[in-house]
């Protein structure tokens, strides 16, 4: 159990059977009065946000959350199938649940899947992934337009800005948290 005084940004708690993460937190105690813990929370399954004020006596269950190492196998319609690399158990997440992660997800990629009880609810990709450039305009030597980047498309269909020397067929490293180019990878 957590009590209100454990509340802080990033804490995960369970309310009405669902997991929530505290996204904003403020402590107040007007005029030596009762302590109030004002929070903004996000439902970790639905993404719905709400604000709520708690008092010292309020208690919360710890959500049963577990991260498991899994490998992406294949996509069928809107279902993305993963396999537990330890138990070989297979599960799937929906396109909606994966959201922007789809920009970087490729076959056989190893990811962390977050489970709430036995229900998969979220995916964390590796921080850096290497993806192949599938569409790129050639770099015109002597280009004096002053622009030091150009747009390319990678194998997942994601578009980003890269330095002009990157060409079609190159592998580039991308930061999955920001979607930005890091470096060209030699293989």
């Amino acid at each position: 159990m957590y009590t209100a005084s454990d509340l802080r940004k990033g804490l995960k708690i369970q309310i009405d059977g669902e997991p929530y993460i505290v996204t904003e937190f403020d402590f107040s105690k007007p005029g030596k009065g009762q302590a109030l813990y004002r929070t903004k929370m996000r439902n970790m399954i639905t993404g719905v946000q709400f604000t709520q004020t708690y008092r010292s006596n309020d208690k919360f269950d710890r959500p049963n959350l577990e991260e498991r190492n899994m490998q992406f196998l294949y996509a069928q319609d809107d279902e993305y199938h993963f396999m537990d690399t330890a138990s070989y158990e297979q599960i799937f997440l929906t396109k909606e649940q994966l959201g922007d992660n789809l920009n970087f997800l490729i076959d056989n990629m190893e990811v962390q899947v977050l489970f709430f009880g036995d229900r998969p609810i979220d995916v964390t990709l590796p921080t850096f992934v290497n993806l192949e450039v599938t569409v790129a305009d050639p770099w015109a030597k002597g280009d004096t337009s002053g622009s030091d980047t150009k747009p390319v498309t990678v194998q997942t269909g994601f578009q980003l800005q890269v330095p002009p020397f990157v060409e079609k067929g190159d592998k580039i490293q991308i930061d999955t948290r920001t979607g930005t180019y890091i470096t060209r990878v030699k293989e």
């Binding site: 005084s5 937190f25 403020d26 402590f27 107040s28 105690k29 007007p30 005029g31 030596k32 009065g33 009762q34 302590a35 109030l36 004002r38 004020t53 010292s56 006596n57």
Partner: protein, 305 residues
């Protein structure tokens, strides 16, 4: 944490506070921080120190000095309140507390106004921070020119929340409405003294002679932030004992221990009329020096220890 320049400014402000009081015939006192018995306050959690406690405010000891015959005293000291941590809270914080015999809470509001204006002037002339009689903090530009607003708790609840104080007390959400609907609007253009608190929320304050349901207590708000808490002192030992016993009952109902400060109660009748006020130095420095939170207005923050 403060830069060397910030530390100099804070030091300068502390000296200016001392000069302000010494010029007005106050004496500076330094009472013990570690006490065997505290004021029974169900909303404060003290830190234990062996089988004694670190004080949560210097009130008990300072009032005993009034009872001994001091007329005007001030103290700058650290206070300790467990489980208070946030943008505007720090478990160990610096308090300025002062008492004046024969005064009531309105006299103290006036002096509090003079003190803060003097400090703001010091900031603008010595460090070039903000303009004379103006305070800039976050998105607020607060004019310090007198007179500052005085607003009763009842008017504030009616005007800003559309509620009656009696009603919210019965529903048990006085603090919640104060924090969410009232405080954010207080003192944004100029400072405001919120005054005449419900009697049950001023355990050591005197009841008003005009309206016994309210205590002669006030809080100063600047830019939505509570800066100081003052009141006309309750000096009736019988009534004070009754209120302490009520607080002890509340403490026991949540499984906590407490005791009556008997020596304090025995001397209380010697004080006569007096008023006292506690002001958070870290918060005031934060505002005067335009720091975003208390963390950046103190010499060393606890997380950096």
């Amino acid at each position: 944490m403060l830069t060397p320049q910030g530390l100099r400014q804070r030091s300068d402000l502390l000296q200016a506070i001392r000069s302000f009081f010494l010029e007005r015939d106050y004496i500076e006192v330094d009472t013990p921080l570690r006490l065997p018995v505290l004021i029974p306050e169900s909303n404060l959690v003290p830190f234990a120190s062996e089988d004694w406690f670190l004080h949560t405010s210097p009130e008990l000891c300072m009032k005993r000095l009034l009872a001994r015959g001091c007329n005007r005293i001030f103290q700058i000291c650290h206070c300790f309140r467990k489980e208070e941590q946030g943008r505007l809270h720090h478990s160990e914080f610096t308090m300025l507390e002062w008492y004046h015999k024969s005064w009531n809470y309105f006299d103290l509001m006036q002096q509090c106004e003079e003190l803060i204006r003097a400090l703001a002037r010091r900031c603008s002339t010595a460090f070039g921070l903000a303009q004379v009689d103006t305070l800039q903090w976050r998105d607020c530009t607060v004019a310090l020119t007198p007179p500052w607003e005085r607003l009763t708790v009842q008017d504030a609840f009616r005007r800003l929340a559309g509620k009656e104080v009696g009603e919210v007390l019965r529903a048990g959400n006085f603090e919640e409405i104060l924090v969410t609907q009232i405080e954010p609007h207080l003192g944004r253009q100029r400072p405001v003294f919120l005054y005449d608190y419900p009697a049950e929320l001023g355990s050591l304050a005197r009841r008003s002679s005009q309206d016994p349901t309210v205590a002669e207590r006030f809080e100063l708000y600047i830019a939505g932030v509570e800066i100081a808490n003052g009141f006309s002192e309750l000096v009736d030992p019988v009534e004070q004992r009754e209120r302490f016993v009520k607080e002890l009952d509340k403490l026991q109902s949540v499984g906590k221990q407490g005791a009556l400060p008997e020596k304090f109660l025995a001397e209380l009748h010697l004080i006569g009329e007096a008023a006292g006020i506690a002001l958070g130095i870290d918060r005031l420095c934060m505002m005067l020096m335009s720091c975003p939170d208390v963390r950046s207005a103190v010499p060393i923050f606890f997380e950096d220890l």
